[in-house]
């Protein structure tokens, strides 16, 4: 098998219009050597899963500040499974209370990153998860 690059979809589901955090993470992952696809604002779970399938990504990173994470994030996971894309590593970030984060991590999310997580930690987590050192 030839060498390849980690592909990541950075998505903004829901209604909030703040994508500074998403862009910071996207840029950091790019600088780490990953190919990062940014979805733009206001995408529905259906649209994000469609993008993940067409782009053949290894990872979806969702940034959400609107408070509707307990609807939107599990919905992304359900649709991924429906489309046969369970191999895609799911991570999330934004304003998500620890109790919700714990529940999401039980429900298929590899990790929910709290506010202020250094981008390097996110990059390292992704590399680990996708199988860099395996």
């Amino acid at each position: 098998m030839a060498e390849r690059r980690i592909r990541v979809l950075i998505g903004k589901p829901g209604l909030d219009g703040h994508d500074r955090g998403a862009k910071v993470v996207a840029t950091a992952l790019r600088d780490r050597g990953m190919e990062v696809i940014y979805s733009g604002l206001h995408r529905t779970p259906e649209q994000l899963v469609q993008a993940a399938e067409q782009e053949d990504v290894d990872v979806i990173g969702l940034s959400i500040l609107s408070g509707s994470h307990m609807e939107l994030l599990p919905q992304v996971r359900r649709l991924l499974v429906q489309r046969g894309l369970e191999h895609v590593v799911l991570v999330g970030g934004g304003i998500i209370p620890p109790a919700d984060a714990a529940e999401l991590e039980k429900g298929g999310y590899a990790r929910i990153f709290g506010p202020g997580t250094p981008t390097q930690a996110i990059a390292e987590f992704i590399e680990e998860k996708v199988g860099i050192e395996a």
């Binding site: 030839a2 390849r4 840029t27 780490r32 050597g33 990062v36 733009g40 993008a51 067409q54 395996a134």
Partner: protein, 350 residues
């Protein structure tokens, strides 16, 4: 480093991938494109099987300076094609970072979601830097989209580096997108950009008069070989939706013309031939350089103070005389004319 072995993602067998691909599974198409990008070992067997299905789609490339409005324009066109019930795929190529090798691919941001919802397939592709490699990966990706059954394949690429030449080589029609404010007219334009076009479109006509630039382009076209078809020069505003119907019409006319005149066939034949040539070059270079240890030999010879060109000639000469194809070359130099096919006599390899 991010170049990984990816033990954890199960790759399908080529047979399973083909079956899913033929069954119309989008996931199989997108995985096949990844295989093409990555030089996966099994991509050639997949392409062998799909080859008879390739050749029905029309491939249109869009290139031009960054910010000219290519993505906006392509998005609008995709919308029109989808509205006409032409099944459409878009390949958006962006440069990889020369420093990290990563890429930030933002072309989906501009895509109108209504269009995406109509079943348009959009794939972002990073150029991954290598000269000519862009053409290979994007051409193979187009082959896959073609075999999957898309009628319209649009390819967007930024006209920097070699990209516009690569894309022109990989498509049936090439559109160069400019704006009224493009530099100081065509004098400032990259030569490559001005040579690859089958059609010019001056976008952002809503921002200012396009007549001056259009006039300059026409004057330049007056100087061209008149036996080649003259590229039309159109103006539009992708943002305001002005001039798009005319653009679609002009593209359709070029397509009909090139189909009937045999130009399309000629272009595709040249493309196939140059692909064979490129593949031979790449494979030979790789085999000799890494598997035959020529890299080591070259390092040694350079360390001994030899001139680089001489190192190359000597390596090729020795290889040729030892019989690169299993049989020693004729020993008697008198029987070997100066125009011998021996690589040692060739000037470069294109």
């Amino acid at each position: 480093m991010v170049l990984a072995t990816f033990a954890r993602r199960l790759e399908p067998t080529p047979e399973a991938l083909l079956e899913a691909f033929r069954g119309g599974a989008v996931g199989a198409l997108s995985r096949a494109i990844s295989w093409a990008e990555n030089g996966h070992d099994d991509v050639d067997s997949v392409l062998d099987a799909l080859f008879p299905a390739i050749g029905q789609a029309w491939r249109t490339g869009f290139t031009g300076p960054p910010g000219a409005g290519k993505s906006t324009l392509v998005d609008a066109l995709v919308g029109r094609y989808a509205g006409d019930r032409r099944s459409t795929a878009l390949l958006a190529v962006d440069p990889s970072s020369p420093f990290s090798g990563g890429a930030l691919l933002g072309d989906r941001i501009r895509m109108n979601q209504r269009v995406l919802d109509q079943g348009v397939f959009v794939r972002s592709m990073a150029s991954r830097g290598s000269l000519g490699g862009l053409a290979r990966a994007s051409e193979t990706a187009c082959d896959l989209l073609d075999a999957f059954g898309f009628q319209e394949i649009l390819v967007e690429t930024v006209g920097v580096g070699q990209a516009e030449v690569d894309i022109a080589a990989a498509t049936d029609t090439t559109v160069v997108v400019l704006t009224p404010a493009s530099g100081d007219g065509i004098q400032a334009m990259k030569a490559g950009l001005m040579e690859v076009a089958d059609l010019y479109v001056i976008n952002k006509a809503d921002l200012g008069p396009a007549a001056a630039l259009a006039g300059e382009i026409e004057a330049m076209l007056d100087l061209r070989d008149p036996s080649r078809p003259r590229p039309p020069v159109l103006t539009c505003s992708a943002l305001k939706g002005k001039g798009l119907a005319e653009l679609v019409e002009a593209l359709d006319r070029i397509r009909l013309r090139d189909r009937d005149s045999g130009a399309m066939q000629g272009r595709r034949q040249r493309r196939a031939l140059s692909r064979v040539r490129r593949r031979i070059g790449e494979t030979l270079r790789h085999r000799l350089w890494t598997e035959h240890g020529w890299e080591q030999l070259a390092r040694q010879a350079l360390a001994d103070g030899k001139r680089p060109d001489r190192v190359a000639f000597d390596l090729l000469q020795n290889w040729w005389e030892s019989g690169p194809f299993g049989q020693p070359a004729p020993a008697n130099p008198a029987q070997k004319p100066a125009s011998s096919p021996g690589p040692s006599r060739k000037q470069g390899n294109g």
